[in-house]
Amino acid sequence: MKKIIISLLLIIFATLPSFAQEAPEMADVMRSNGKIYVVVAVLGIVLAGVLFYLISLDSKISKLEKEIK
């Protein structure tokens, strides 16, 4: 009986350090429940808006170039 308890305690103490060593914290929860996609979507809209503005500027300048020639 004593031997069993000692060996059990040994196993517990031997495995404890592996619980203490946690992996670096990452935003897994946010990704797993899908919320990170919300951020990507919002930034995607912003980027699309800015690029649309840039393209319209490009077309306006192209028109001016044609006009002036």
């Binding site: 990452m26 935003a27 990170i36 990507v40 995607g44 300048i61 170039e65």
Partner: protein, 228 residues
């Protein structure tokens, strides 16, 4: 329907790729930086873009000095302007990143200080240009200044920070991007990100150059009608 040149479509595709893959693809799990490692796709390309665009600006300065063609001066100054914008964005994004990984906005890191000095040198370029009235004189002097400014940029960003202890990866006795850039997944996003942001900068440069050309043509026409 208005059509864009092929590389502008490439810019748009690569920018969206950077955004989506940059947020969603797995990254190495490291202490301290944690998820902020993703800044590699947004902060670092600002500097790479700045250097590439400033290099182009310097090349146009040399071409101006060789040919005295006014259009090269316009290219040179507009590229330098976008380079400065990228540099300022790189500095601000770096400060935010530093706050949450190094503890302070301004860490006094050699690379941080050197990039601030480099930016001041380029801001002086703008001041120099605006202080000269004569167009040819302005173009010539600023072209020469621009070449020297680029020549000081290289030791400031790539040599001096490596000679001392710097927190930036690849500096102060740890050459190369080491731990995180060795990760091939990050390279697959980082290099396209550099191309994407640089092309976006170049797109804006070409727009501003075309605008300047139109402005000059209009002014010449006005001048011609006034002198008649």
């Amino acid at each position: 329907m208005f059509k864009l040149t092929w590389w502008k479509y490439l810019t748009i595709v690569l920018l969206f790729y950077t955004l989506i893959a940059g947020f969603l693809v797995e990254v190495p799990r490291l202490d301290i930086v944690n998820e902020s490692i993703r800044n590699l796709y947004f902060h670092v390309p600002m500097w790479f873009g700045m250097i590439l665009i400033l290099l182009v600006s310097m090349i146009f300065s040399i071409r101006y000095l060789r040919t005295q063609n006014e259009i090269y001066d316009i290219y040179s100054v507009e590229a330098a302007n976008i380079g400065i914008v990228f540099g300022i964005l790189g500095l601000i994004t770096g400060m935010v990143w530093a706050q949450f990984t190094w503890g302070t906005f301004w860490h006094g890191d050699p690379k941080q200080n050197a990039s601030a000095i480099a930016l001041l040198i380029y801001l002086a370029y703008s001041v120099l240009r605006s202080s000269l009235e004569d167009e040819q004189q302005r173009a010539k002097i600023s072209a020469v200044y621009n070449i020297f400014a680029f020549a000081t940029l290289i030791p400031l960003l790539f040599i001096l920070p490596r000679l001392t202890a710097s927190m930036h990866p690849g500096n102060g006795g740890n050459p190369g991007f080491n731990s995180y850039d060795l990760d091939s997944r990050m390279r697959m996003i980082f290099y396209p990100a550099v191309i994407a942001w640089t092309l976006l900068g170049w797109w804006i440069v070409t727009l501003r150059v075309r605008f300047a050309k139109i402005r000059n043509q209009v002014r010449m026409k006005q001048y011609a009608t006034h002198s008649e």
